[in-house]
Symmetry: C3
């Protein structure tokens, strides 16, 4: 499994015993964008945290078969972007790219989170991602901003959503309702650069990461409509416990339980 070879793990944690680290920790550019906490720094401050990072986190959690390293990368990056946590972002961006997330998908994840976690978070993520892309010689400048062929829309589902939102908030917040339809459900969600299932995974992760449980029932259900299995949904919560913190996940679990129990197997 590519992700777990020593070189990759060593990459930004800076294991000094690893020869490949020399190449991969040449992070001059990154350092100027965001402070990078290396394994050596961590050892000086907390040998215990190194122990948990290498053992419980990288040596155990990330190896659990219930969720792929690709999905774990998407969940983890969504947390970091939604909470504006740039310190670890370069490490997990590289991990994502090494785990099968394409540059184009990263681009869509950031754009998706501009709407779902605020424009400022996307702007921070852009600055860091630019550096990671530069190191790898990646540029997406030539990608079309507007897809020539958007995904087909499920008219019935969308009509139901639009009717409910219009009824609830059409009079109080017509501007929000307008952009919710035009910018989100008739545009962003139809972009083919990220599968709807992954878009849902990003959304659910961001909601839990920021403690916004009021929208979780809707978006977790949508995630499962889009292909996320019950076992994966459960393991997403395990991944989130470490990256969004235990309290957010324990607050989310009653909602998750309710959604999962009401769905057919």
């Amino acid at each position: 499994m590519k992700f777990f070879n020593v070189a990759v793990v060593a990459f930004s944690l800076g294991l000094s015993a690893c020869s490949q680290m020399v190449r991969t920790t040449d992070m001059t550019k990154l350092d100027s964008v965001t402070p990078l906490s290396t394994l050596e720094d961590m050892r000086t401050v907390s040998p215990a945290l190194v122990h948990y990072t290498n053992g419980t986190l990288l040596g155990d959690l990330w190896k659990r078969p219930q969720l792929s390293a690709r999905d774990r990368s998407i969940v983890t990056l969504s947390v970091l972007i939604a909470r504006n946590q740039t310190t670890e972002m370069p490490y997990y961006l590289n991990l994502a790219l090494d785990s099968g997330v394409t540059p184009g998908e990263l681009s869509e994840i950031i754009t998706h989170l501009a709407f779902y976690s605020g424009w400022g978070n996307a702007a921070s993520a852009v600055a860091v991602t630019k550096s990671v892309f530069d190191k790898r010689g990646i540029t997406l400048s030539n990608l079309p901003a507007v897809p020539s062929e958007p995904l087909p829309i499920d008219e019935a589902v969308e009509a139901q959503r639009a009717t409910a939102v219009e009824k609830n908030f059409g009079s109080v917040a017509p501007g929000v309702v307008h952009y919710t339809t035009e910018a989100l459900f008739h545009d962003l969600w139809l972009r083919p650069g990220l599968a709807p299932r992954d878009r849902s995974l990003v959304t659910v992760s961001a909601l839990v990461a920021t403690g916004q449980f009021a929208q979780l029932t809707y978006h977790l259900s949508r995630a499962m409509d889009n292909g996320l299995t019950k076992a994966q949904a459960s393991e997403v919560m395990t991944q989130l416990a470490f990256y969004a913190g235990w309290p957010n996940v324990f607050s989310a679990l009653p909602v998750v339980k309710d959604v999962l129990e009401k769905r057919p197997d």
Copy 2:
């Protein structure tokens, strides 16, 4: 409309076709304070995000007549400060100054958010604002820290507030109750450097930006008592959708609806 001339928009988004950019993007000092995501960076990582930023955001949202560019700047900066999102702060500080927010008002916004979003956020905002002020030759060092003439207090309203808080929390948290009266309602809110209506706008924006809906009924009502119209309150939510993220706004809307429906037109 001053805000939307090309030079201003180009200013920190770095449109390379614009000659005035050369002067205005000389941001050496800013770069050392906070990474600045330029439009060119953004294009490398996500042409789609550039498209939405120039189109939906700057080309559409900010031009809507329901709320002035000045008010939109106050809302947007309040979000960035309350969420400690320094990356975009220089751009929106400049935009605020170009849209009619005075340096003294910016100063009061930061001070207000020290109390309403935590001291650490104000300290981060100070560091970034200092750089923006320096570039423009602004200093407020000679401004009196304590106003010679505070705004008059509405004794009846304040007595009602103080009684309710004392009754609820006087025994459990006397320290909080003490400072709530002395530092907030007999001091901060009476500072004449920021109109009470704008102070309320800052508070409401910060509450939605950080998902703190328990205080929203009180502060949105107070905002409208202080002069915010229903149409403006509604459009504040539209602005917040983009900068605080959709989920926060959808969680806020039931509260907003309740407050607006209960008020006379």
Copy 3:
């Protein structure tokens, strides 16, 4: 009282009249990790904020006898780490060390918050703490990552907790339940490097700082089981008002009131 001698307060607020500042503000390394807002910067942007910082905050709040400067430091740092607010972190790390928090305790606080506020926050805190430790010649590299003698576990209390969690979430999130027992309650909480009462103080502070009130009843009760007095719990909320912001504390107070009223004196 050590904390309030001028040199310490002057240290990172940069009071230029103080000769010891020259030595203590040599923060080249810190500056590259995180922007440091000095008192001079603050004066340029907001003389009012300087007034409140020196008066209400450092001159009044921190001197209140209901809570020691050591406890106030733990509360304040927990807020900053849990909210990823690195700007003020160097100042409060130094203040903590000068107020009787040991380097080993700081190390445990960061590690504890990796689990209770997300791994990314701990990583940011490591980068800043490393710089503060370097300045003081502190390294903990030789500290054992796993304690040779963990604290004894209260089997009855732990069985009750484990049963409740298993019953609620065992089927929906077995991974979360597994790590909650193995990594948290059979491991992290038994580390002797930080007293359980202080570990609870960190947890409660992080919960209020991030608006996660669903877990507050459990953890505040646990804090008091671990030795936090009612008067201290009350004053923790006063400290949090300034550092986590008023709205978070007002949202927490109903829960705090309920917990305190139900406990015997």
